[in-house]
Amino acid sequence: MIDYWLEWMPLLWKGTVSTAQVTVLSAALALLLAALTGICRLSKFRLIRGLALVYVLTFRGIALLVLLFWIYYVLPYMNIELSKTMAAVLALGLNYGAFGSEIVRSSILAVPQGQWEAARALNMTPAQRMFRIIFPQALIRMIPPFNNLMIELLKASSLLFFIGMTDLVYQADVLRGLYLQQSTQLYATLLVIYFILASMISYSARLLERKLSAGRL
């Protein structure tokens, strides 16, 4: 067993790096879109609210794999040629940004009304109320659901195998061709690697939560 692991390690490591990379980049895009559209959904302007809602409904509704295929295979016909990584980050980011948007919105709404009122009584501008008072408090509420979302994103990054990204699944598939009889160990190893990566996300989320809520509770 150990022999096999040693032989697989270089390829699986390469795959892990690629998976981690694309997950981090997509997570950044998803968080950005989530914050932006989540706040827009609370805008007092109907048009802005509407656009944000359309984004959320559309990208939550389309199956990720279909979105990925569309971005990677169809966009080039509209003269938009993206690298595999770019296509992957765009698809994952758009998709998970839509789910994250709901988290941002509901966390903001969960901040007690009195906080808005106190900020207004101190004559803060709408932007100051949101970004100095409400959003920092909503942020803590967002951490646990975003932790789950980021784990979903990590798992979803396995779909990049379908467009031939050289991620973990791809490397395992290469190895399967060479070690057919060891498929069980190979895929079990793969599952464990993903589990470890997911645990790392949860661990960072807990650290962040502890840091942000330091002294407050």
Binding site: P112, G114, Q115, E117, A118, R120, A121, L122, N123, M124, T125, P126, Q128, R132, I133, P136, Q137, I140, G215, R216, L217
Partner: protein, 279 residues
């Protein structure tokens, strides 16, 4: 004013106190004119007329659900009147004049008006993600544009006034209810409003913590410059601090006058019943 005098021959003109006449000639600090407020189908205020002079301390008392809090929230621009007008130092609060007509105020106008008004809430509403000192300096820095040092000095001064200069670097979660409320008072005071609403500031406190908060408010009242609207259930406090007591019930102002009159010699049936009940 003069014409009224002529019609009242029993009042000799020479007995008119000149300071009263001067005060009446100046613009009131706050003026509610025929203010009504509904929430959905329910009208909670049926037409309020009320004036506050500069520096005047009024206590608003009355049974719960009589719309007292709404009165204060409208002044702080948290609830807007369904009809009627509120003026602060002669300027419309919820309206602006455009080509001689009153139109609803925009955020910019409200922002300008709010510089004169402050509020302390029943549930404190401290910002839980900021230390005590930052709770107090946040608005001076961001809203008034003071330098950090200046804001810090002002904040420390206010926190000293409420007896909490020891707690600068503590988060609100670590404070008792009475301490939280005193921070909230410092936070509102530091903006130097001309009129401040105290909305049932002791109602959410444990009985043994009420005293420390009332003590602080009394001290502020004694300094005198700021007009105060004290919405309260504490009758002894109202009596001690207020220049005038306003009794509201069922969405109307039923009776008002100096504390002695209101508490010793209530005129209306409604107020008599109310005072009997709380004794």
């Amino acid at each position: 004013m003069g014409t009224t005098m002529e019609k009242q021959p029993q009042t000799a003109p020479e007995t008119v106190d000149p300071t009263v006449a001067a005060a009446e000639a100046t613009v009131p600090m706050v003026k509610y004119t025929d203010v009504k407020k509904s929430f959905g189908d329910l009208e909670v205020l049926h037409g309020i007329n009320l004036e506050m002079a500069a520096g005047e301390k009024i206590a608003i008392i009355g049974p719960s659900g009589s719309g007292k809090t709404t009165l204060g929230r409208m002044l702080m621009t948290l609830d807007h009147p369904t009809s009627g007008t509120i003026e602060v130092e002669g300027e419309h609060l919820w309206h602006m004049e455009r080509k001689g007509k009153l139109v609803p105020a925009n955020e910019k106008h409200l922002h300008m008006m709010r510089t004169k008004i402050g509020m302390v809430f029943q549930h404190f509403n401290l910002f839980p993600h900021m230390k005590v000192i930052n709770n107090v300096t946040e608005a001076p820095v961001k809203v008034l544009g003071l330098s950090k040092e200046e804001a810090h000095d002002r904040a420390v001064e206010m926190l000293r006034k409420v007896g909490l200069e020891e707690k600068l670097d503590v988060y609100p979660a670590k404070l008792s209810g009475g301490q939280k409320q005193r921070v909230a008072i410092a936070r509102a005071l530091v903006m130097r409003p001309k009129v401040m609403v105290f909305d049932e500031v002791t109602s959410a406190l444990d009985p043994e913590l009420v005293g420390e908060v009332l003590e602080v408010i009394k001290e502020i009242a004694d300094e005198g410059e700021m007009a105060m609207m004290l919405i309260t259930h504490e009758m002894d406090f109202a009596r001690e601090v207020a220049d005038r007591v306003v009794f509201g019930a069922d969405g109307l102002i039923v009776e008002q006058g100096p504390p002695e009159q209101i508490f010793e010699n209530p005129q209306s049936e409604r107020l008599q019943t109310f005072l009997r009940r709380i004794k």
